[in-house]
Structure formats: C-alpha cells, structure tokens
Amino acid sequence: MLGIKSKICYNQKIMSDDMHIQSTQPEEPLAALVVPGAEDDLTIGQYVEAVEEVGQNKVSVIVPCANDRRWLPGCFERIEAALKETEFLYEILVVDDHSRDGTAAYVRSQESARPVRFIEKRGQKGRAISIKEGLDVATGGLIVLLDPDLRCPPEAFLNLVRRLTVDDVVVANREKYPFFAYRVFSRVYRWIVGVLLLSVDVDVRSGLKLFRRSLMHELRFAPEFDSRIGFDAFLLYHAKRSNWALETVSVPYTRPMFHHGVWGAVSSRVSLVVGAVNIRFSQIFRWLFPFLYPPQPQEYFEAGFTNINDYLFLAPEQSAKGHLTREVYFLIFYVFLFIFVYFHFIYLFTGNSFAWSLFFHIAIVQLALIIFKLYVVWITFRLPPQPPRMLTPDEMLDLPMISIILPVYKEKEIIPQLCRRMAEMRYPIDKLDFIFIFESGDDETIQAFLDHEKPAHFKGLVSPDVKPKTKPKALNVALRETKGEFLVIFDAETLPEPDQFMKAMSAFRSDPTLDYIHSRIDVYNPGVNWITKSYAAEFSFFYNFFLPGLATVRSPTPISGHSVYFRREQLIKVGGWDAYNLAEDCDIGIRMFRNGYKSASVIDSYSWEQSTSSIGDWLKQRTRWMQGFVQTSMVNLRFPALLWKDLGGLRNFLMFMFHVPGGVFLNGLNLVQWCILVFWYFTRDPNVQSIFSGVLLYISFSSFIVANSLFTYFNLLGLLYRRYYALVPTALGSMFYWLMLSFATARAILRFFRQESTWDKTNHPVITPAPLKL
C-alpha cells in the first residue's frame, strides 16, 4: 500500500512560542537492512537503496535450471575459478524450474561448500520467471545471468565486469561457431530478432549477460515487463530504449549444437521471436492506448526520493498537478473518434443527423443521471429513522483520541470564534489533539493565534514555504503530526455541535466497520440574501435527502471538505490529500473508495458554516469546487480500466461517473438547455424544432423541465425538514440558482482547459451567528 514516505528531512521554521507552535521533527534513519519479503514495510526506493549499499562489490550469478543437473558441477567449478581470485564477492543463485533430475538435492548439498543458494521456484515454469525470482533475492550490486549449459564460458566474467565499470549492460557475444551453416543461421537469426525487432546488434541468445543491480528498479516496472515474453529480449530492448550503455564482449561457442534436443533448440528460438514481436506490439499498443497501461502502484514513488516535500504531494499519476496528461488527450481523442463513427453509423442506418444523435444521447445520459439521483433520494426516504445512540459508561472510559485539524489562512478575525467553539467541544481534553495549521508568511493570523488566550492543548503548526499554498497541502503537513485514532477537519469558520465528537465516536463504536462518517452541514447566515438562502436550500437537500442515500448504497462519494471523521490510519494509507486538487474533499472521497474504504454513514449532528453572500465570492467558490470536480474526473479517468478495477466493477464505476463527471455534465448541460430554450422561444428556429421532436423532445423535456421542477420541490422539502420556514419561498427560485451554478461550471471547465488552477480562497467575514426567525 502506498504511504507517506518516512525518509523525510526538512527544516521547519521554529516559532518563538514553543508552548504552542511545534516544528515537525526529522525522521530516524532507516534502521536496518531490509530482508527479502519484507518490502511491504519500505518503499521500493528505500529497499533498492539499502540493497545497493551492501552489494556494491558483490556479484550475483543467477543460474536458471531446468533439468540441468549434469551441467551444474562444471558450472560451479568454472564460476569459482573465474571469480575466486578477483576482488569481487559473489553468490550463485540456482533457480530450479521444477527439475526432476535431482538438481535440488545437488544444489542443496553444495550450499555448505560454496557460496551457492538454492532458490525453489514459486511461479510458473519458464526461464524468464526463474530469472525474475532470482533477481528478487539477489543481493549483489552486479547481476550475471548465466545458462548452466556453459555455452558462454564463465571465464569471460572478468572481461564483462571490467566493461561494466563504464557500461550498464554487457553481453557475451558468441563469435566462433562450430561450422559455417550454423554461423550463417545464427547471424540471420540475430539480425532478424536483434536488429529488426529489438533494435540491438548483439547476440540475443547469449547465455551470459551482466548488468547493474541498480537498473532493476526501472526494469521491473517497465510496462513491457511481462514474464511471458522472456527476460533476455526484454532486457536488451529496454536497455536500448532507455539509452543504457550496452556493450558486447566476444566469447567462443563452447558447446555442441542441440544439446537440449532439436525440439528444445527450435522452441527456444521461436519463443524468443514471439517475445520480441510481443514487445514491439506491446510498445506500439502502449503508445496508442496509454490510458490502458496504468503505472504499478510501487512506481508512484521513485527510488531514493528524498525531496523534502515528498510527503506533501501525491505521485504525479494520482495528482491533479499534471492537469491534462497524454493519457487524457488520447482518451478524449478516442472517445470523440468513437462518437463520430457511432453517429455516422446511426446516420447511415436511420438517416438521423449528427445533431439529433448528439442531443439524443445527451438526453439519454441526462435522464439516466436524473433517475439515479431520484433513486438515491428514494433510498434516503426509505431509511428508517435512526434513534440516537449514547455511549455506554464503559465506552466513555475508553474513548479514542481524536485529532482535529484546523487549517486557517488569512483569517485572524475568526480565530477567537474558532478557539471558543473548539474549547466548548464535549470530549475529554486528554483525548483531543487540536492542530491549527497556518501557512508560512501568514504572520498576522499566526500572531493572532499566539496572542489569543486559548487552552494549552491547542497546538499550532506552520506549513513549509512550498508552493502550492493550498488547504490540502496544509492538511498533509498537519496529518503527519496528528496522534489520534480518528481525525476530523474543521474550516476556520465552521461551528460544529458541541457533542459532535461524542456522536461520531458513538457511531464508530456501534459499527466498527465504518470507514468514515459524515456530519450534516448547515449555514449559520442563511437569511442574509437570496444567495445564502439558496445555499441553505441546497445544503438542506443534499445533507438530508441525498447524502444518507449515497452512504447507504455505498457509492463513491465526493465527501465534504470538513466535518468528516476519518480513521487516521486509512488516510495515511491512501496518501493524504492531493495538494493540487481544488476539490481535495471530492478527490479523497474517491481515493478512499478506490482503496477499499467504502463504508460511510451520516450522523445526526450538524456543523454550521458560513455561506458566501456575494455573487462574486459565490462564483469564485463554485468555480473552484467545479474545477476540482473536473480535476478529480480527469485524474481518475487517466486510467479508466484501473479505475474500474479499483472501484470494484461496473456499478461503482457508473456511480463515480454519475457523481463526479456526471455532476459537472449536468450543470454544464443545464446552461446549454437554457440557451437552446431561450433561443428557440425568441426565434422559433425550425432547425431546433426538427431536432427536438418526437422521442427526443419527450426525453429532453422530462430531463430538463420535470427534473428541474422536481428538484426544486425537493429543495423546498429540505428547507421544511430543517424548519427553515422563512426560506421556503426561496426554494422556488432554485432553477435560477442552478443556472448560476451552470455559469460557474462553464467557467471551471474553461479554467481547467486553460490550465489555471489558483486556489481562490473564499472570503469569510466575521458574522455573529444569529438564530433565523422561523
């Protein structure tokens, strides 16, 4: 599993007030050398680094055997003779490919007399897999691949090793063949397989190759590395493609032909050709369809990566930093190509125009999305009422520690309110771990925090001065310092119910399988103007009628930015937040689901936040959210097949599509439909009428008018449910609110494709929460 890397060392700005501001301490160095099989505890990079350290002067000779018992004594003797007098330490790793000729017994008998290790093969039959398993346990800095039949003389080792001081891979080229016909055949074969298919002019069937151990990391995770296509061909091909220094050393041919029989000779040559062809096709296919080849999870972290910021950011493959990657471009291209071809077929067979086909399919998707939303609402309505569960006295004595992260940025005025509310939370103080996280450079807020009289257990932390200065990056900094079993974030202006911790812990106690818990979010300034009223209506619907249904159906959910209770361990396992994502909450919800943390619940406890009250602020906020949704969609859809697999199949994949890209799509489409309606109303354009006729008209009408009306009514119901009676008439204007949301979505899409991703922070003026007149 991915994790925050432990080898971190950076300088933290130490604040003057040691009581309240702590600096994050550097980690202890890697304690011990890793033993094979214990890789899970370290990243691959650390493992490789550790192995290299001890194996600088050591040669690991990997001898893949398959009923080669008769060659082994001579093989061992000649290896010893070749290496004994040199400065190199060495080990001989015999990987037995299920031999039945006593190979295992013989090698084991030699283990005490020579530096020989018997490796019992675990995987399938085949030379490539033997080599791979040998490589897994090799500890030498130099790797020699040697066939036990000694076609290439081990005495050539020294020559090879000497070359390796300047080169990366050295191959023993067999030059002197027993007779002319064999030489011709070998040269032709070498040209076809080597030059033509693999682009290397070396003896591709050479039984002696030497390369650096350090190359293995890259080699292991190369996309073409497939045990079915043979290791030799892959090594040479990859060496060429990666511009490794590839050199040859001439050796004589020292064995008679067909010593494995005619069939064995033919099949080995054919399999090499097949492997080389496979590599070529695989490479072409990968180039054409890069989105089908996700990187291996271990590849996310590079070997030896010791950048001071590496714990702050996700790997590029998981992060929104790259925006539009090559995979996304290709995927978009293929989707458009498919649509074009598909619509062309529709035109050929039905005569329907492209425009009709386009709007028809859009209408179908829109209808499906709306039906899905209605389904979720229906699920919520069917949920039985949850009676509040109180913690038992025993549970009260054994409450877990909760870490509370409070990111504050340029909000000095709100510090007193925040500190006051946090101090009011009903939970044992010794079980609370408050971390206020500030941005470096935000001295006013930091000073305000230091100056404010606050409880002693409130800790402050300053995020390193590294861009981007975003909330998720700050959260990642704070995450490392948290100590609690559970973790919750509150925005600076958030006011949770005082007993929310108790309720959340009670929910975790009552269902230990829960991965995270949502609380309901409300606004404490709903009555300011139409925007705040509509904001309240939107939240009323979402948190009362939609989110509980989503949690029940175990769907990939874009979770809230605050007031969500996580298990800290799980957050660490998923790698924390994406510092570049503008909707880090949406992103982490999906990533949690992809990592198998699917079980969520909604507790009946409210957190009040401040609604934006000006159109400008609202538009900035929603643009950021929607852009985050677009980013999350693109990040996850870079490798759609992997996403499908991670989410657990079609159902969850569709749910993701419905929630994240679907949400953006619905909002954007709303604007398009309004435009078409207004255009048609004023122009009565016959083209619009001819496109929107028959079935398409009904579907579009149902999706647009009926759905808008229905969800307007749901907003009204939501307000009624929360007893915001005075706001109920506002819900009737929800259509116009959604239209504004459509504008924000359009702006977000535009910003995304222009690769603008600045974090437009929402302004939160200090407002004294006052009860709304009901």
Binding site: G694, L716, L720, Y725, V728, P729, K773, L774
Partner: protein, 558 residues
C-alpha cells in the same frame, strides 16, 4: 382463529379483484366495453398516442388526460386495444385501491374494522363502481383520487404528517387530471389547508411553507392541462376540440340556466340512478349529526367537502349552463338520460356516511339495543343495495348509461360496413369523435387516418387531399367544429370534386375515393413521379407535409 393473512384489507382486495374479473367478463359478453361513444373515444385517444400518423403527446387530447396516459402502454397490443380489455386491466388496480381507501378512511374515522369492511363492501358492489372499473371510462379514477385525497388530508389533520399533506396534494392533482370535476378539489382543499393552519395557529412563515408544500403538487395537474391546451389549441381550457367557455351552447341547444332547486332535483334524480336512494337522502344528515355528536366539526367538514366536491362541481356547472344533465323525471328534450353518471363520482360521501351512521349507533351504551339498531340499519342498507344492484344488472342493465352513450345504431353499423366493403388501401382523411366508431371498427391501424389531431398534416390534407390521401370520409352529424366545417366545405370544392368520386353516401357520412387514374395522367403531364404522391402510394410511410412538395419536385418518394 383467523389466519393473519386474512386481514380485512387483503380480503377486500381479493374480493374486489374477483368482482372486477366477473364484471369484465359479464360486460364483454354483453359487448359493453367498447359499445359507448365515450369508451371508444378514450380507447382511441390512448391508442393514438402510440399509433398515429403523428404519434406522441399531441394525441393525448383535450379530455382530462390521466386515463389516456394510463391505458397507453396497453394499447400497443392490438387485441387489448380493439377489445378494450387493455383499459379494463389498467383500471383494475384503481378499482381495488378505491375499495381499500373506503375501508381505511372509515377506520381512520374511528369505525370498527367490521363496519369499515361493510361500508367498503357496499361501495364495491355498487353496480356502477364495478361497471366503471371495467370499462375505459375515467369515473373510477376520479373516485379513487378523491378518496385518496380525503384519506391523506385526514391523516395530515390528525398527525401533521408532511408526507400525508404531499400525498393529498398529489391526489388532488391526479383527480384533476382524471376528470374536470376534480378541478373543484383544488380551491376546496387549499381553503381547508389554510383553515387548518389557522386553527393550529402556526406562524406565518410555517403556514406559508406548508401551503406551498401542498399547493405545488395540488395544482400540477391543472397546470398541465392548461399548458397542454394552450400549446395545442391556443386556449387555456379546451375540451374535445371545443372551448369550455362555450358551454353546451356549442351543440346548438342553447343554455340551460336551471334555477337552484331544479338543478338540485336533477342531481338528486341522477344520483338515485347511481346508488340506492336511501344513501342519497340520508348521507348529508348523517355527516351533520356525526359532526355534532363527535365534536369534530372541521375534520368531518373537510372530509365531507372533499368527498362531495365532484357533485358540487356538477351542481354549479349545471347551474351556470355549462353542462346538461337529464333524467326521465326532468326530461325536457329528446333525451331520456344524459350525463346521469356524473352523479356517481361523489359516492365516497354516502359510503362514509353509512359507516358513520353505524359508528354512531355503536355509541349506544346498551349492548342489545345497540346490536339491534346496528343490525337493522345494516340490513336496510344491504337491502337497498341489493335491490339497486339487481335492478341495474338484471332488469334494465345500465340503462341510464347505455341509452345516453350507446352509438351502435344501425345507421352507423351500416356506414362502417359500407366503408369496409369499399376500402382497398391508402390513407383516409376524416374526423374524430363523430367517426370514432369507424376508426375502431375498420380494423385498420390508426396511422391510416389523417385526423384533426394530426394538426398540420390534417390542414395540408384538407387543403389538397388529392396529394395526400386516397379516401375522404365526411361526417354528416354531430358537432360544428372548425375542422368539420373545413371538411364539409370540400364537398363544394371544384378540385375535390374533380379528383374524388363519391362512392357511398349514408345519413352518417359520405365516403369519397381518389380518381387515381385521372391524377396519374395529370401528374404525368408535369413529369412528376406517382411515387412522390402519398395519395397514390400503398405503403404507410409517415410523411411530413413540409417535405412532400419538395419531394414531388425532385421525384422522390416522401
């Protein structure tokens, strides 16, 4: 010990389903399912939505649309459409639910389960309830939604359940989409909601919120009808192609501005045909007495108002001359019965009154007198119901309905027969309503006909019928709509006379056929292809009038 599965409700549903099946069987044996004008029209309206020259929403028609929308899915099966059984199947659940609602409403009002069961049984075995549950008519839809509205409204009054209020609003909406009598439910229920909110002394904001919550679903149906009417006829309330504002005068019979007492008497007589007279006479007094005794004035007033709203609507519509209702006792024109069935839709009111009466007697403190009184009352009601049912089923089966609505007269049958003898292929230009019988009896699919609901197709076909249709059927009777006037004008159109020959003329209508040889000769002179003329084509390809002329220019088939 009674098995728990045999609850009153389940037993009622089973009995209702069995009674419905028997009724459908009986009605189909008497050929009553598709025998009346309205039944056929409803079936055709539902069928046209899926099987028209211009299928879709435009074919729903200007009647209250719920029935047509409900039966539409079953109309795609030809046998279910032509026999009318498809509509019966669609209405079965509503028949069953209406019985259950009577039962539940009685239970809500405090009646014992046995009394509620008794009242529901009286309701179920009313011959007209069974009749309208089995034929394609909208009465049962209105009844069930009025009952649902009363039930949920009462639930809201007693529990303040928001869900119940929403359901009541939805029921109001569906009632107004079932029949026009449902329109009155909207103002009545809105007033009742306000009254109840005032009584609860809720704040202005809460009251407004609750009112909106009810108002939006309640007016949805009415709004839908208005928008539909406006879009397709440019009048906010159109009915059957006529404007409702014209009232009955559109039939050329003049207004019937009856005085109060005569209107009341007419409704009384009509109701007497629909249900036993004892129910009609005593239901209102029972409600009043029950209100006084139970001291639940607003509650019973609300339920009574909702249940009686259809008949109140009918009363005022007659009073203002927008509707004519005739019974033999009040006959003043040629009809013995007309619109008598409108007096059925308030049947929930007397049925609940029966249960309330029994419940009132159950308050008698002495056991034997109480049992005796209840037995006597139940026997009386049972006797009245039995006599009524027997008379309607066996003495003069459904006379008030069939004498008014039956259209299978000999002239019409002969007319259809003559058309069938002549018809070979091609599309037919005609009108609905007066020719619905023709539409259903030819056995042709409905996309063979060019009707006034095909709008621009119809207008273009009337303008130049020789281009578009092979047959023209001009009705001779009923109605004076603009469409009929247009069609009848063709008789004097020279070009029409030139290209069409009269093949049959009956008192019900004239049948014209295209002189295709003449038309072919004439278009050959211009070098046009006959394939480009829909009137000369035997296939039933749907054409667009806007594209036919350009097709003729390019010699392309439409």
């Amino acid at each position: 010990m009674i098995h728990p599965a045999f609850t009153h409700r389940r037993v009622l549903i089973v009995i209702a389903a069995l009674a419905w099946a028997a009724t459908v069987l009986y009605l189909s044996r008497l050929d009553l399912i598709t025998s009346t004008h309205d039944e056929i029209t409803h079936i055709i309206s539902g069928r046209l939505i899926v099987e028209s020259l211009t299928p879709g929403f435009s074919q729903v028609g200007f009647w209250a649309p719920l029935l047509h929308l409900l039966i539409m899915p079953l109309m795609v099966v030809p046998i279910l459409a032509s026999s009318g059984v498809g509509a019966s199947i669609a209405l079965l659940p509503f028949g069953c639910v209406s019985v259950v609602l009577v039962y539940e409403l009685c239970v809500r009002l405090g009646c014992s389960k046995n009394v509620a069961f008794f009242a529901a049984s009286l309701f179920l075995f009313n011959p007209y309830i069974l009749f309208f549950s089995g034929v394609p008519m909208a009465e049962i839809l209105l009844i069930v939604h009025v009952l649902a509205c009363a039930y949920y409204f009462d639930k809201w009054m007693c529990t303040r359940s928001v869900g119940a209020l929403i359901y009541a609003g939805v029921a109001v909406s569906l009632a107004s989409m079932s029949r026009f009598e449902g329109f009155l439910l909207i103002p009545i229920t809105l007033c009742l909601v306000l009254l109840q909110l005032w009584r609860w002394k809720v704040s202005f904001n809460e009251g407004r919120a609750m009112f909106l919550l009810f108002f939006i679903p309640a007016v949805f149906g009415f709004t839908f009808i208005m928008v539909y009417s406006y879009v397709y006829s440019e009048q906010v309330l159109a009915y059957g192609g006529y404007s409702l504002s014209g009232g009955v005068s559109i039939n050329g019979n003049g207004h019937f501005d009856l005085p109060f007492e005569k209107t009341a008497a007419t409704i009384f007589y009509a109701a007497r045909y629909m249900m036993p007279v004892v129910f009609v006479v005593f239901s209102l007094p029972v409600f009043i007495i029950a209100s006084l005794v139970r001291r639940e004035y607003l509650r019973l007033f609300s339920i009574g108002s909702i249940l009686a709203s259809p008949i109140i609507f009918v009363y005022f519509v007659i009073l203002f001359g927008k509707l004519r209702m005739v019974t033999p006792e009040t006959a003043n024109v040629v009809y013995a019965y007309e619109n008598v069935r409108y007096a059925l839709t308030w049947i929930g009111f007397p049925m609940i009154a029966c249960a309330l009466a029994m419940q009132l007697l159950a308050r008698i403190p002495w056991k034997i007198p109480k049992l005796a009184a209840m037995t006597i009352l139940a026997s009386l009601m049972l006797f009245a119901e039995t006599v009524h049912t027997y008379r309607q089923y066996f003495i003069s089966p459904f006379t008030p309905l069939l004498t008014e609505l039956a259209i299978k007269d000999e002239e019409l049958v002969d007319f259809v027969q003559q058309f069938n003898e002549q018809y070979d292929y091609g599309r037919i230009l005609t009108l609905r309503y007066s020719n619905d019988f023709l539409l259903i009896q030819t056995g042709l699919t409905l996309d063979h006909f060019v009707l006034e609901y095909n709008y621009r197709h119809f207008e273009q076909a009337v303008h130049e019928p020789w281009v578009f249709v092979r047959w023209v059927v001009i009705p001779e009777k009923r109605g004076s709509t603009q469409s009929l006037a247009l069609l009848q004008k063709l008789k004097t159109n020279k070009a029409f006379i030139r290209y069409f020959e009269l093949v049959r003329s009956t008192p019900r209508g004239s049948i014209y056929r295209l002189r295709d040889t003449l038309l072919r000769e004439e278009i050959a002179k211009f070098g046009y292809s006959p394939q480009a003329f829909p009137s000369l084509s035997s296939d039933m390809t749907r054409w667009d009038p806007a594209l036919v002329y350009s097709g003729i220019q390019r010699n392309q088939a439409p």
